[in-house]
Symmetry: C2
Subunit: 146 residues, 2 copies
DNA sequence: ACCAATCTAATTGCTCACAATCTAATTGTG
DNA sequence: CACAATTAGATTGTGAGCAATTAGATTGGT
């Protein structure tokens, strides 16, 4: 038996969060499989679908909270599967310009049904997604990172 | 502009969850660094601290929702750093028996202050950890996985 | 114009997650 | 007992995350 009862899985928010996040990603997996996307790739595509212009790695990273160490290989895979193209900004050669291909843009229509699908699952679990989201966003935005 | 407004980062619980989970793990990192543990290793140690007996890989995996593909190398690293020992059950040679070393058990005292540290961060963010946890546990336990 | 700071990506190395497969041990059934 | 089915864990391969470093481009101050 533990001498530190507060140090148990059942008493900590962290594990609930970690497990729920993996569970939601797992719920997406079969839906995204049909689109040929992983979950983080899907998030990058969502960012790109919201823009008409090409975005830099930096800009994508800022929206998702991911750095180039994660994004560079992920974007390489999205390029290999034909969803995006990668080039360099003429005005600033340091900037990579990530642009949707026609196929990548067309994928948005196929993805349109996914949010509704997930909302149905949340509802079936009696979870108020809106309320939950508000609290999670505070953690995601304001929790000290160091 | 998107033709599918519901398909945006700002409208989906999934991204908030994904980002918050990474933010919380990031908040743990500096605290765990002093113990020589990563976050998933910390979760395994919590499971072991709650038991007097050695546990099988299966039992640890059941509590955390992780499979042997994740746990086997992780446990190997915990063994290499001296926190646990791995042996085989005499009665059933298929079962690995994971046991805390004295050093691994002693680490519990060093970890005792961590939950309070995190609760202080949650409070500073005005997040009701208890309420949030209840909803997340529903998702983690009952969300369909296929 | 020079040169030092800054900035953007890319790279390297380590650690998860997880699907799929494999091996060996055990159990159940005839 | 024999042997098919099941079980536990390890292994392999792919794809994240993230810290730390590197390379190259740009900016700013003198």
């Amino acid at each position: 038996m533990s001498q530190h009862p507060e140090l148990g899985l059942d008493h900590q928010l962290c594990f609930s969060l970690y497990r729920a996040s993996r569970a939601v990603i797992r719920a997406y997996r079969p839906l995204l499989k049909g689109l040929g996307l992983t979950y983080p790739q899907y998030l990058v595509m969502i960012v790109l679908w919201q823009e008409n212009e090409g975005l830099s790695v930096k800009q994508i990273g800022a929206r998702l909270g991911l750095d180039s160490g994660t994004l560079t290989p992920l974007l390489r895979r999205l390029e290999a599967s034909g969803h995006i193209t990668r080039s360099r900004d003429d005005a600033d050669e340091r900037r990579a310009v990530i642009t949707l291909t026609d196929a990548g843009r067309a994928l948005q229509d196929d993805a349109a049904s996914i949010p509704g699908e997930l909302n149905r699952m949340y509802a079936a679990c009696d979870v108020d997604a809106g309320d939950l989201k508000t609290q999670l966003d505070v953690l995601g935005e304001f929790l000290p990172s160091a």
